[in-house]
Amino acid sequence: MTAEDSHHGADIAARVERRWATVAVIIIVMMAVLAAFAGIHRATMPQPRVETTDPSRLHLSGEFVESNLGSVLEANGAVTVRAIGQQYSFTPACIVVPSDTPITLRATSADVVHGILIQGTNVNTMLVPGYISEQLMRFTRTGDYLMPCQEFCSFGHEGMWGKVRVIDKAEFANRAKAGGRLSCVGQ
């Protein structure tokens, strides 16, 4: 092999590499563009706003006092669910919501870090004490869903399972007529 051959080989190698690198960069740019498109156009975004709350006063005043937990039908037909996680349960332990309705879940933790995950859906959020988690959800299928705590929260973590019961829209509206905050605890 002469020096020119070697040079020639090096040129080819460099060209092939450059081509591969270009393909790799294109793949990555495409992924970022897709994520940006889905985020901006389809509004599939993680929680954009940071809200805080004092976990040691949750039960005394404010949005997360016990009487305000559960599901409420808003005037515009949407539903808001408020819940807290604590070692080792959710309150309410059974959340009742209507099908085919935009729902806002607002939740926080009273002690350590917990997580809410509704099996079979994309509802999945952390509960960090001191901060409020907000997640939009919508169910198309009625029935019961398991809702385990997905973050280790100390020794009783494995027992922290809640439930979400999705009922028919009309039935929910009927139950909401009585006012107050709905849940399916004890049902």
Binding site: S6, G9, A10, A13, A14, V16, E17, A21, A24, V25, I27, I28, M31, A32, A35, A36, A38, G39, T44, M45, P46, Q47, P48, V50, T52, D54, Q87, T108, D111, V112, V113, G115, L117, I118, Q119, N122, N124, T125, M126, L127, V128, P129, G130, Y131, I132, S133, E134, D144, L146, P148, C149, Q150, E151, F152, C153, S154, F155, G156, H157, E158
Partner: protein, 540 residues
Amino acid sequence: MLVNRKLILAHFWLAFAAFGVALALGAWQMFIRSPLGVWLANPELYYRSLTAHGTVMGYVFPTLVAMGFGYAISESALQQRLVGARWAWTGFWMIVVGAVMAMIPVALGRASVLYTFYPPLIGNVFYYIGVVLVVVGSWIWVALMSINLRVWKKANPGAPVPLAMFANVAGSYLWAWTAVGAALELLLQIIPVSVGLKATIDAGLARVFFSWTLHAIVYFWLMPTYIAYYTIVPRAIGGRIYSDTMARISFILFLVVAMPIGMHHTFADPQVGAGFKFIHSAFTALVALPTLLTVFTICASVEIAARLRGGRGLFGWITALPWDNPMLLALAFSFVMLGFGGAGGLINMSYQLDASIHNTQWITGHFHLIFGGAIVIMYFAIAYDLWPHLTGRALADLGMVRTQLWLWFIGMMVTTFPWHWVGILGMPRRMAYFDFGDPAIAPQALSVTFSAIGGFILLTSGILFLVILARGMRSPVTDAGDYQFSLAVHQPATMPIALNSHALWVALMIGLTITNYGYPIMTLALTEGTSVPAVYVGAQ
């Protein structure tokens, strides 16, 4: 030239002994949470075990491998006796003391916080101090790698730094900087609370600090593996590195873009706004680039070896490869697992897709495939390759080595694929047991059982690995010759300064971290009223 063999062997033996213990704990954990085991009367034992498994596998084992391998690279690539060997021993003993100190409270059930430091759950202070000692011990290694390179550069002005050492030092800098996140969390937040100086802590801020460490640490674990891909595999199978330049670019890219991406771990967190989450998501996509480049360069390097052995055709060369060579086998397994794990990683980093699998068993599956699979199998390969040079004795039984690698690969597949599946079904991770009697959970029982079986295959492989190494210490004495690294097809004669030094890239790494983390950390630190009461583990 390997002078400080005892030092290197000490690092490897400690690493692999700790690995063996943690592996046994892992297998036990999978058994106990599967339908094969009975429910624990005291589930807290599971979390103790999980804390020990994660702490050893995450902090102690890979750090020791990187250090031992780093010392070996420094002496053999630079052909220069290690400068500061006494300091190296100091670092080693700090890790021994730190690891023991951390494990005592864990064994006593006083630090069952898992290896991720997520306050306000706070464990015993000695657990945290032990971890800090491990990290500080490893920082001595970082300093020594930098000093050794400097000494060599002074003696060889203008010469290209050997690729193995270039990558090794890049890895050490990456580690030094990524460890700063957890160090800040420990020193500023957790340790003051765990000794009782403070009673409250900002849990959100702590998670952001920890995310700084939590992702780039994976690339630090990856460094020895990538160094082996580039500088051991081609030599061991009779090939050449396709491109020395591309290798350097890959390592530089890891150094620069691996750091500012950790916030994708907080996609589902309430304390970080959507903007920074998106930026970190995009950067995480970017870090796929060095891996894509590596896959190309290494496949091309392997192809060179095959064609030198007479392989022909578009794909025909694959059969010409020396498939009985354990190094090739390890590489092939590693690439397969890297492929699956990497594909899962792209899903995790996608801002939108993450929601379906966040914090489920999928995540456990993903990182076991990448770390336990793609990375650790190359740690085995590194040990097999280095052992004859460290002990002066040959590893004779290649059949046993191949069996061990096969078992590891199969075990990892059997363990992690069902995990991915139940993760999609929404099975949360880190739980001591599941009620498989519940009709909603029962369908997952079979998958979990498979995982547990995989765990025991892995344990068998791990034991076999230790046996092979131990037997290698007693086989007949041979002269393994000088420890060599792969040569490139076009071995560089000169090197542009940017590809021959790290200063520019370290500056970029720090700059990018500050832009990607500075503002969120500042805002969180300045927000009033976000500190919450600490919850102490084991307090009644």
